[in-house]
Structure formats: C-alpha cells, structure tokens
C-alpha cells in the first residue's frame, strides 16, 4: 500500500513539472500559469484599440503538461467589458484573436477563435505550451476616464487522446 501511494505522488510530480511561476499554479494534473496580462494600455474615448495575439501586449499563459497529450483549451466567461468602478469599457474578441504554440513545433502558432476554444496537443519533445490572446477595446466617445480591468480565465483539460 505504501508503494502505491508513492507511485501516485511520483506521477503527479511528473505532470506538474517545475518552474517558478509568479502566481501559484493551480492544483491538478497540469499547470496553467497566467504569465502576462492583456494590456490595451492607453485608450482614447471613441477610438477602438486592438491588440494582436502576436503583440507583446497580448495576454499569455504558460502550460505544463504531458508530452504528446491532447488538451482542450477553453476561455471560460470571456469578458464583454472591462470595469472601472461603475463604468464599463466594451471589449470584443475576433475569431483570430487567440493562438497556441509549443516549443517543439517551431515558431508557427495555431490561431483559433477564443469564443469556441480549441483542441491542442503538447509536442512530443516538450511539456510546455503557450497560449496567447488579443482583443479589441471599444470605448464610446464619452467613455469615462480611468483604469479598467477584468479577469480572463483559461480552462485546460486533457481529452484523453
């Protein structure tokens, strides 16, 4: 029985990987680390501002998992607006605003629709994957000034394939 417990602990450690994330990784069989915020930076009232997924202002997650494993990526509850006190700043996401990439897959990234999610796969040569997210802020001409923000959650699970 002791041997069984030891085996379970070892398996969990292999899937979780190492690293020193700035945010504590969530418990579970793989880790999803929110690495960088999606930053629209300065937004002018009445003027839409877009951030491409390939920009250094795009949101970014780092995933650690099992090499070769297939996973499902879902943005749950994509925000329709950012908040500042009682004010809302509308934001939207196009069908090409998200992308994922593995280090073993070269520099090419796979673009996907953040509203529908995507099935991705870890490379056989690495247990890492990056997921990036752009978007567009759509301030009204009378948009109240201030710092706006909202959470963006990325859900990840193995498909079993």
């Amino acid at each position: 029985m002791k041997r069984c417990v030891a085996a379970v602990l070892l398996f969990g450690a292999l899937l979780s990987g190492g690293g020193a994330p700035a945010q504590a990784p969530p418990p579970g069989p793989s880790t999803v680390w929110g690495q960088r915020d999606l930053r629209f930076q300065t937004v002018i009232p009445g003027l839409p501002t877009s951030v491409d997924w390939s920009s250094n202002k795009a949101g970014q997650w780092l995933l650690r998992g099992q090499r070769g494993a297939e996973i499902q990526l879902d943005f749950i509850n994509l925000p329709s607006s950012l908040q500042s006190g009682g004010n809302n700043l509308p934001v939207s996401f196009s069908v090409t605003d998200a992308a994922w990439r593995t280090p073993g897959g070269g520099t090419a990234a796979t673009v996907f629709d953040p509203s529908t999610g995507v099935t991705a796969r870890f490379s056989n040569r690495s247990n890492l994957m990056w997921v990036k997210l752009g978007g567009t802020a759509n301030p009204t001409s009378g948009q109240a000034g201030g710092d706006y923000s909202a959470d963006v959650d990325l859900d990840v699970y193995y498909t079993g394939n």
């Binding site: 041997r3 069984c4 085996a7 379970v8 398996f11 969990g12 945010q23 969530p26 579970g28 069989p29 793989s30 880790t31 999803v32 680390w33 929110g34 960088r36 915020d37 999606l38 930053r39 629209f40 930076q41 300065t42 937004v43 002018i44 009232p45 003027l47 949101g59 970014q60 997650w61 995933l63 499902q72 749950i76 925000p79 950012l82 500042s84 700043l89 934001v91 997210l133 978007g135 802020a137 301030p139 001409s141 009378g142 948009q143 109240a144 000034g145 201030g146 710092d147 706006y148 923000s149 909202a150 959470d151 963006v152 959650d153 990325l154 859900d155 990840v156 699970y157 193995y158 498909t159």
Partner: protein, 167 residues
C-alpha cells in the same frame, strides 16, 4: 508483474478529464483617457464696429479675439483644426472674413502672452498641460467690408475640433 499492473491502473485513474480542468487567470487592462471637452463661446471673436470700405483686423492677442478652453488628459497630445467661415452673415447680406497664417495661437495655460501662433487653416498639434490637462486656443482674423456694405450685425460660426492623437 502485479506491481506494474497496479501502477497502470493508478495511472489510468489519475489521467485528468474535463472534470479535472485547471484554470489560469490573467487580467485584461486598459487606461481610458479623460474625454476631451472644448468650451463653447468662452469668448467670441468680436470685431466691434466696422466701417464700410475699411478692413479691420483682430490679432489673437487682442482682448476681443476668439478664445476656447480645452480640457483632457494631462500631457496628452491633441490635434486642433478649425472650420472657418468665408463670410459673416446678416440676413441675405455677407461680409468677407479671412484668416492669416498667424491668426491662431495655442498655449497650455491661460496666458496669451506665452502663446505660440499657428495657421488656423492648417491647424496645430500640441500637448495639454501636464498638471491641469488644459489647453487654450485664441483666434484673430480680418473682415473686409465693402464700401457699400449694408449696415447691421453680422455673425458666423467658427468651430474648433480637437482630437487625441494617441501620443
């Protein structure tokens, strides 16, 4: 062999599925600048009494020049452009008005003596005050009444459009 079988079963049991999804959170952030506002009729460009056949000019530094106040985000760069009339109107009568290349001026405080002139036909790009977010615009011009100009009060609208450049 038994040990291997047990390990395989355990591994199968801990393989995650949708029920074991893990979530990573980031924030989407934006800093919206204070919306621009431009005062209306802070001061009208007033030529006062005009004599038929005698041109009359008002410089931007004169007490009766037109004046606007802009309020926006501190230090933000703004672009200013005018919609200028060709004539002042009194019923069906018109009186020509013109603007020279130095008839407009801008400064980031209410101090016309420090203002820098610009061509109102071309507009200008400047920064709002770093502390107050204010900017001030002055406008002069010249009217050219005909020798037989019909007497009366003439007027026209002068519009100042201000937009953020994003810089």
């Amino acid at each position: 062999m038994k040990k291997l079988a047990v390990l395989a079963v355990i591994a199968a049991m801990v393989l995650p599925t949708a029920a074991f999804a893990v979530t990573g959170t980031i924030q989407a952030t934006a800093n919206v600048l204070t919306p621009l506002s431009v005062s209306t009729d802070l001061r009208a460009l007033d030529f006062g009494d005009v004599f038929p056949g005698v041109n009359k000019s008002i410089a931007f530094g004169d007490a009766t020049s037109g004046k606007w106040q802009i309020i926006g985000a501190t230090s933000a760069e703004v672009q200013m452009s005018f919609t200028l009339p060709l004539n002042l109107i009194n019923g069906v009568n018109t009186m020509p008005i013109s603007f020279s290349a130095t008839d407009a001026a801008y400064f980031d405080a209410d101090a016309v003596g420090s203002a820098v002139a610009f061509d109102p036909s071309a507009g200008s790009t400047d920064n709002l005050n770093g502390g107050t977010g204010e900017g001030f615009v002055w406008l002069g011009g010249t009217v050219a009444p005909a020798a037989n100009q019909v007497a009366g009060a003439y007027a026209a609208t002068v519009s100042l459009d201000v937009v953020y450049t994003g810089n």
